[in-house]
Symmetry: none
Subunit: 204 residues, 2 copies
DNA sequence: CTGCCTACCTGTTGG
DNA sequence: CCCAACAGGTAGGCA
């Protein structure tokens, strides 16, 4: 699991589309991935069409709601070049439900139980259901309610998730990436990339 | 805010449908209403079609549930001719949700905070959430749980509400009326009237 | 199981 | 145009 930093990535990578740093909306995303934990779904790849500006144009006004999960981005320099310190946990191609009106993301059980144990939470939450805070590619923090639904026997991110989907303009088939800090496993990161569809340039 | 008692109302009222006492399922309901506190929605008016008999035919068998909010009606003579002692608080046209499966009535915030303050309750309840008891047009008492939902920033009647909707056969567009005793503000009253739809006789 | 109940959550919208 | 209010939802517990 070697890390490839931004300078080495600026040259093109074999068997991949031309690399442009902005393709990775999780900044400096690590290519070296154990196949089981970090599959590269056939249906997804890095998308040359860029929404970086759109993201920044959007709601960067602070929501006055005191319960808002979003927090101010850190100063950019605080987040540069710490990619070597991140390890991927897993990624998930988004289903229509994950980006639809259900306002929840189902976390595959094996990943959930490995990385986000409930009941002894490190997220500051209570017995069942806790708050997980993830840093995004802009240094912005996203807090999601994470819990287990007995009825469907599944782990989900609920509160806060729909705002993330909206701000990142995620759609079914896009992929979300979950990482953590190599030395401080409580520092969590979230990223995303666009679905790749053959012959179609996505310019959402 | 003059009161019009039942005898003065038994003659027809200009600009209103023919007045029939039974239109008012809150007995002797007061017509003279401050516009802000007690609006007369365009979509609603007094409904000549009568369900008084239906109400009495209905579940007068005592619900064996120990938590039943309903109590026995007082003897009728105890409730006659005290209309002059009631003042309207507010009314609400019922939404589909108010009469649907959510089993709750949203109380518009300005009315809730004016008439049903939480936290210093006179309803015998605890800090957040108390029981409010209302007398209906038959002298029957209805006890509802009244509380505040932080997440939606709204005041609601919950427990007991669905039984009231069912017994009174209320539908979306019908209006519920809340009154209190002029001298004893702790005595609360609830009434209702049918939605008026132009050209249609409601015979529910 | 069904219906009720509490306590959440969110998209919409009118003021 | 923004945001508080609310209409319309949810899960989970319980009787």
């Amino acid at each position: 699991m070697d890390n490839i930093n931004i300078s080495s990535l600026s040259s093109s990578t074999p068997h991949k589309p031309h690399y442009i740093p902005e393709f990775y909306h999780h900044h400096h995303y690590n290519h070296q991935i154990p196949p089981q934990e970090h599959p590269s779904p056939m249906s997804s790849t890095y998308n040359p069409s860029l929404t970086f500006n759109l993201i920044q144009d959007e709601n960067d006004i602070d929501d006055p709601d005191q319960n808002d999960e979003r927090q101010q981005p850190l100063p950019p320099q605080q987040n540069l070049n710490d990619d070597d310190d991140k390890e991927p946990m897993f990624e998930k191609p988004l289903t229509p439900s994950d980006v639809g009106k259900l306002n929840r993301l189902v976390i595959p059980k094996q990943h959930a139980e490995k990385y986000f144990p409930l009941g002894g939470g490190g997220g500051g939450g209570g017995e069942s259901g806790l708050l997980l805070s993830f840093e995004d590619e802009l240094g912005k923090f996203w807090r999601f309610r994470y819990s287990y639904w007995n009825s469907s026997q599944s782990y989900v991110l609920t509160k806060g998730w729909s705002r993330y989907v909206k701000e990142k303009r995620l759609d079914a088939g896009d992929v979300v990436l979950f990482e953590r800090h190599r030395r401080d496993g409580d520092r969590l990161f979230i990223g995303w990339r666009r679905q790749f569809v053959w012959g179609i340039q996505h310019t959402r």
